[in-house]
């Protein structure tokens, strides 16, 4: 047994222990806090699996954004907890669920331990075609070029989710602002943090986007950091969430997918196929899409957390 195996085993045990805590904790707020810790531990797991891009994503979205969302929801639902906690499901249901999940987990474990050798891989193809885009980060290549369709549709999924959330607004509130995110007094340390951190965060976000061409990072990770800065400013009460009817904000929301589609259809005409970039302009085109995408991602994620409109439109 090497030291690596011991450390990996310890990390895996920690992940599963926090996972158990999320399931069994009595208080939902505690479970949501556990989820943030779980996400950060998973980030370490992804680093151990040599997937730094995924680790950044897990830390930013899986732990940070989803964590913030769940923490906010659990504090809102706190008043309803007492009545629900009194009615635990019948023993037979819990036993059946435990049995079913044990079987599923065992089957997954067996499947993953007896995967075919040698493992099938597309890495040689990704390496052979890396020259087509002029970018050194294989994951960015896959996301932005080889499987660009997935990435484009993923952005559309984000917009659909946002439209779904907005559609939950009451009729008379349509076009208004989402509920205020802040509840602190203006002298709190949070306000100070919201004044000091955003310049650093925005530069870090843009750096993350730029460096994503050749190193771990990319549009989504950069956009998430910028979204976090925006949320911080909104939570400190220094800025308010924009009304959902705001035209400029809506334009920003569709800028990324729209540019992606335009370049995609341009590929039909100038390149080889839909979303096939003309070889000479591949890298500049990808960078332009990524810049628009970063803005779109930042605004979309911020609004996903802000939720449906809850205040009357002013005009």
């Amino acid at each position: 047994m090497t030291i690596d195996t011991v450390l990996d085993g310890g990390l895996a045990a920690l992940v599963l222990a926090v996972g158990c805590w999320i399931i069994v904790a009595r208080d939902s707020f505690a479970a949501a806090v556990g989820f943030v810790a779980y996400g950060l531990l998973l980030t370490l797991v992804w680093v151990r699996l040599d997937a730094i891009d995924v680790a950044l994503m897990e830390g930013a979205i899986g732990s940070g954004l989803t964590g913030a969302l769940l923490l906010r929801a659990s504090s809102r639902l706190r008043s309803t907890e007492a009545s629900v906690a009194l009615e635990p499901p019948p023993f037979i249901l819990r036993a059946g669920a435990a049995l079913l999940s044990a079987i599923v987990a065992a089957m997954l474990a067996v499947a993953v331990l007896y995967l075919p050798e040698p493992a099938p891989t597309l890495a040689p193809e990704a390496a052979a075609n890396a020259g087509a885009t002029g970018m050194g980060n294989a994951v960015t290549n896959v996301l932005m070029a080889f499987r660009a369709m997935d990435t484009m549709l993923e952005k559309v999924v984000l917009l659909v989710a946002l439209a779904g959330i907005w559609s939950l607004a009451r009729d008379r509130l349509w076009g208004g602002r989402p509920g205020p995110l802040y509840r602190t007094d203006p002298k709190a340390p949070l306000t100070f943090l919201a004044q000091v951190l955003p310049p650093i965060g925005i530069v870090t976000g843009i750096y993350m986007l730029w460096v994503g061409a050749d190193a771990p990072g990319g549009a989504f990770q950069g956009g998430t950091i910028i979204a976090a800065m925006w949320l911080l400013v909104m939570m400190a009460g220094l800025a308010d969430a924009p009304p959902v009817g705001n035209r400029r904000m809506r334009l920003t929301l569709i800028a990324g997918p729209l540019l992606f589609l335009i370049v995609g259809f341009g590929g039909l005409w100038l390149g080889d196929a839909f979303l096939g970039y003309p070889a000479a302009y591949a890298k500049p085109l990808i960078l332009v899409i990524e810049f628009a995408m970063t803005l779109t991602v930042a605004v979309t994620l911020g609004l996903l957390i802000a939720g449906p409109p809850e205040r009357e439109p002013t005009s």
């Binding site: 195996t5 990996d8 085993g9 599963l16 996972g19 158990c20 999320i22 399931i23 939902s28 989820f35 779980y38 998973l42 151990r48 699996l49 040599d50 997937a51 891009d53 995924v54 979205i61 899986g62 954004l65 989803t66 969302l69 769940l70 929801a73 659990s74 639902l77 309803t80 009545s83 629900v84 009615e87 499901p89 079913l100 999940s101 044990a102 599923v104 987990a105 065992a106 997954l108 474990a109 499947a111 993953v112 331990l113 493992a119 891989t121 597309l122 890495a123 990704a126 390496a127 294989a138 290549n141 996301l143 499987r147 993923e154 984000l158 989710a161 939950l168 989504f220 957390i305 449906p308």
Partner: protein
Amino acid sequence: MTTAAVFGICGALAAGLGLYGVIANPQPLRKILAFNLLSSGVFLLFGVVARRGTAAAFSGDPVPQALVITGIVVAAAGTALAVALLLRLLQTSGSATLTAEAAVSDDTVE
């Protein structure tokens, strides 16, 4: 045991834990949390498959890694939508349970 094997088992167990939570926990928010646990386990299995695909000077197969990145985003979007639905349920019915009798007795029209 290799790193891939250790975290493969970890992913399988996390998925199992999540599945148990989705079925057995009566609170909707806890079901959402458990669902995220389940998805994280599935993503880890993807990560293990990527890690095993070491070739051509890459430390892993970039294609599953990119798929997981897309998956994490979609899971987050789904979670956001589910949380919004849940908060709306709380707003309209005054309670956040999925049991039928509670929904009927507490149902109020705005």
